[in-house]
Symmetry: D2
Subunit: 381 residues, 4 copies
Amino acid sequence: MAGNSFGVVFRVTTFGESHGPALGCVVDGCPAEIALDGETIAAELRRRRPGMGGPAATARSERDEPELLSGVFEGKTLGTPIAIIIRNKDPRPGDYAVLKDLYRPGHADWTWEAKYGLRDHRGGGRASGRETAGRVAAGAVAKAFLASPACRNDLTGGGPGGVSIRAWVSQAAGIDAPQPGEADFDLEEAERNPLRVPGRAAAERIGQRLAELAEAGDSAGGIVSCRIGGLPPGLGEPVFGKLGALLGQAVLSIGACKGVEFGEGFAAAVSTGSAHNDSPAFPPFWDGAPGTGAFKTNHSGGTLGGISTGMDVVFRAAFKPPASIPRGQITVNRAGEPVEAAVRGRHDLCIAPRAAPVVEAMSALVVADLLLLRRRARPRH
Amino acid sequence: MAGNSFGVVFRVTTFGESHGPALGCVVDGCPAEIALDGETIAAELRRRRPGMGGPAATARSERDEPELLSGVFEGKTLGTPIAIIIRNKDPRPGDYAVLKDLYRPGHADWTWEAKYGLRDHRGGGRASGRETAGRVAAGAVAKAFLASPACRNDLTGGGPGGVSIRAWVSQAAGIDAPQPGEADFDLEEAERNPLRVPGRAAAERIGQRLAELAEAGDSAGGIVSCRIGGLPPGLGEPVFGKLGALLGQAVLSIGACKGVEFGEGFAAAVSTGSAHNDSPAFPPFWDGAPGTGAFKTNHSGGTLGGISTGMDVVFRAAFKPPASIPRGQITVNRAGEPVEAAVRGRHDLCIAPRAAPVVEAMSALVVADLLLLRRRARPRH
Amino acid sequence: MAGNSFGVVFRVTTFGESHGPALGCVVDGCPAEIALDGETIAAELRRRRPGMGGPAATARSERDEPELLSGVFEGKTLGTPIAIIIRNKDPRPGDYAVLKDLYRPGHADWTWEAKYGLRDHRGGGRASGRETAGRVAAGAVAKAFLASPACRNDLTGGGPGGVSIRAWVSQAAGIDAPQPGEADFDLEEAERNPLRVPGRAAAERIGQRLAELAEAGDSAGGIVSCRIGGLPPGLGEPVFGKLGALLGQAVLSIGACKGVEFGEGFAAAVSTGSAHNDSPAFPPFWDGAPGTGAFKTNHSGGTLGGISTGMDVVFRAAFKPPASIPRGQITVNRAGEPVEAAVRGRHDLCIAPRAAPVVEAMSALVVADLLLLRRRARPRH
Amino acid sequence: MAGNSFGVVFRVTTFGESHGPALGCVVDGCPAEIALDGETIAAELRRRRPGMGGPAATARSERDEPELLSGVFEGKTLGTPIAIIIRNKDPRPGDYAVLKDLYRPGHADWTWEAKYGLRDHRGGGRASGRETAGRVAAGAVAKAFLASPACRNDLTGGGPGGVSIRAWVSQAAGIDAPQPGEADFDLEEAERNPLRVPGRAAAERIGQRLAELAEAGDSAGGIVSCRIGGLPPGLGEPVFGKLGALLGQAVLSIGACKGVEFGEGFAAAVSTGSAHNDSPAFPPFWDGAPGTGAFKTNHSGGTLGGISTGMDVVFRAAFKPPASIPRGQITVNRAGEPVEAAVRGRHDLCIAPRAAPVVEAMSALVVADLLLLRRRARPRH
């Protein structure tokens, strides 16, 4: 597949450079008759937009108003492709002129040029984190589909709550946030503080540490955790389309993501079968409703054999520190000469808070596609 | 894409159940005029076959003789699909009759049945690790392509060594093997001992620990590390087809894999930009040959912006302990009643040693596909 | 997509050369719980096998016994890939040694060599009509799916008869067979005579003409007509996946097919809107059952806007005369010298009779895929 | 694949409804460093725009100014997705209010509603011929690629002229235009007269006949012929991706196309092998440059075994008469009642003249994709 599309039947193509006229997406394969409007998409975009993320975020100010160009008529999807564009309104390409002949440390400047022979140097072009705006717009469409009565009734087994997808920052700048099951873990708090940390005290500690790093002209890594609830069993397309494999591709395709683990993840590598195995619960083992406790434990993170168990799907994604830092770094220019790169544009101190909504969006794309594919595995009798 | 195919132009489809008549693969899109014969494929299959893996491995005895059915004529590929089958010669389905109505803990028994409405219970059917024989056969074709003069001259930039892909066990049963850069790290040793551990002393310690677990009727997890050398810069298809994203999907699609990380991986999440950023080296920055030290460091693990840098691509994959253990476990049968599952078939104590060749195979598939796709990004002038 | 796969969710990959060890297919995405056995596939293969086709057919004798390697357990599909192979048992490669350095007129010898740099010259290699055995095996799986209660109940709207696909020879060697609506049109007769002509008298006339051509060392073209009945409205994926577009690709991908037309086809080009337009019938316009006369006429051949109307889908496909003829023809050898090519292998006089089952198979693949895709367009409320 | 995308590595997705905010396309996989600007795209759009087509065309007045949103920087493609939108500036949805509850004869009104449960009734929504604006914009990108030095030097074998794609109206309203080889065949004339007829006298006769039909409130069918020159041998991906099969899908996916034939097409069905076979020419048989007369004849229309021969690829496509006619027709409304549909919007009398540039665009997409795929078949040694 060409590299800018994702999914099989719920299929998304994104486009756009950081400082070109616009970014956006085309969603092909969204079922018809789903309620959708621009505000739904705008609301998701606001969750990742520059300016959010508090002390961790770039100062670039983009309103990120999406424009729905097709696929929706009188408030409902038509079954035709849904095109959404987001104009770039605050480009300051002048900020980037100095980068034209420079290959910044830790950036994609040189690799893109090595691949394509040229690049749009303005703000990283398509290698910019701004590319994810198109993903979040597409994810908003997927979320609208997942929340629709059609999806709930026909595809997820009739559970009342439907599918829920929540991502948060579980670690940043080396400081842990509260973990699920701990007393101070508060997912609503993650929506309130701009760092998306599920605990106010931890958010403050992380904010302080980030302020110190900003002072030092440096940046920080972080970890985003995600929980997908309300899935029916049966999601995933063995063998290469296992649920974890597709979520893995989806999340690792986000710039700066360097690792992903499901359930116990790397800790499972030091465990034993007797400790790690999830056993079915009973009675009742499974009554058709998702999320009703089909297994006694969930060490696997919601999949067995690449197929959802009906338990929560849980995973963690590691993000490296942003490569753009004000602190001077020695690099190379196009002529092969050593030069100092002190990046003075508007950049994030830590990408994790703004990556969380992107992780949600990518998860929504995977789940929407697999729900639509699952139906073909076993037509109704 | 249907779930049993992988790749875009170098495209593989695998098939087969653990105790059905045969497993195999079809490779479509392998260039013509590549030298290939059955022995090349058989040699790779021997590296993963049951019986290898020493104390960690199942006792099932399969010769795994591949049969080349199409796509090769007079020792060279024709450009047409290459079909390879491997007969199942040692099925003892009687061993598995007891599993027919049982959902084993940690296994895919119940999820596959929830998805498809029925399952081949004999040895896990297609959810068995035996499924990977088809992948390894396909990977052998990919490796033959990567080693061909055509690939080296036209696609990898003319480096003398070509692409090398090596996977080994870097941790098992909680015991670390020597790591790259350490004095006792010996990759040749990993080919000699059946645990694929790059160090004889560590291999012995791990073997002892596995023997203890076997005594206790238990199993162990492990970590496979992989290094891909000799890649030219420019591999990877942004944005969803980033090199790390595709390798991530490829590796996470191997049964029992619960996590993957690139370069510093999760450690990057606690690092800072000034420490993590890789800076270009000079002079000469890049002279066209892969692997010539384009960057001073390789914290990123060989990719920037999802595209290969020309440095080694390095990643680690976590494998959970095998779910099949002799120790009795309480589970549920089809009637919803509690039953004890004491799995007495032939199973691996630790999957990592036999997973290593599969990690290599999947890596070879990703690299072959991306090399062929890369060419389209920038035709020659 | 690589060139040897077809379909999106009901996805088929074929492989095999005319004189290699075996031909076959892998069907990925067939729903689970469909009744399937080897005899079902063998029965379809007998309809196209060498020896059938009467005076029109090659004398090559292949039993074409299919072997089911995977995807079926206890007589039902598992939802996993279904691999089927057909061994080549009567290869006489010696017959073809003379062709090694020769480019036969009208054949793919030179184009395949120009593309791939080499070729399997034995009987045309993969460019042989024998390649279609894999398609027919896959089509048999598709037909089994279309005939299943699951498909009828869940996907085709509950019509009692299910989907029917029938292809026949409507013209050969310049002689017309009876056309639908004519008194002597008899589709059962097309199953009885080896020329697949729906009328005994026409079959005899065509047989005589073919005998004369055989005497003259020549061959003949023909036309295959196809009618797909029992389709629900709503099949087809606008805009590039229109029902006619996919059937068109499917049929034009059969070797020797040079044209396809739907409904009135080329005659529509000389018609007017007032004469050609199909108007909805009433009452009742549409009661949910396929094939119940939703339109007063069917000039369009069963599609409007690329989507099935619920009327019969009807099309015709033109096949050129087989290129292999005993009559001497001047051609060129590898050295660029003129040589006479008098092809003395076993070849068909007219490909249409044996192409008819292949047209059915390809139609079944298109319909199965679109039925599974249609469901995603509009989940149930 | 989702229905609104086409191609494998040169991959196009189109979107947009006739009276929505905008139509457009995203081209993913166009190589980098190709010269491209908005005017190149605008020029192609003018060739199909409403207002062209003379007496055959709708009176709808759209300037069709394309806007390039991404993928181009400083006049060159970046290798990233190229998004192009065309705003709908002259929608008069009021014209269509009467159609809201009406299913017009010969139109997609009912089939789209049967598939999706709802439709955008304004001007046919996405089933409108206006949808092809996105295809033409994408085709303009493909043409720019085909004309680039990179394509000529690396992919088409270095022929000086490059690939040329020309489509014209060879028949309309039952009146033949001059055919290739006839004295009065003048392809430049086809660019001058709005009916795209390659002969002034025929254009006038056709224009008169269309005026009579307009008077009678009726419409006419037509045939578009196309010739692709300058192709190297080796294009086409057997077996399902044969050059003719992909062109067939491409052309049959254009609304109102009811048939396609290659070379002699349906006439081949009444020919014999001795008459139809194309024999290689010599000397020189093939010197590496496309279009240098590799075969003595071209009955096959430029392909053998689904792969280009290096001769011109020639095909013809039949278009039905436009369904929208002023003459009153009895149809059915949503309530199942008979109503008269007298369509008074702005419509084409004959679609062939405006379909010709769309046939060119689709051909360009196929050729661009296959040229990029061909390279993988046989890397350079």
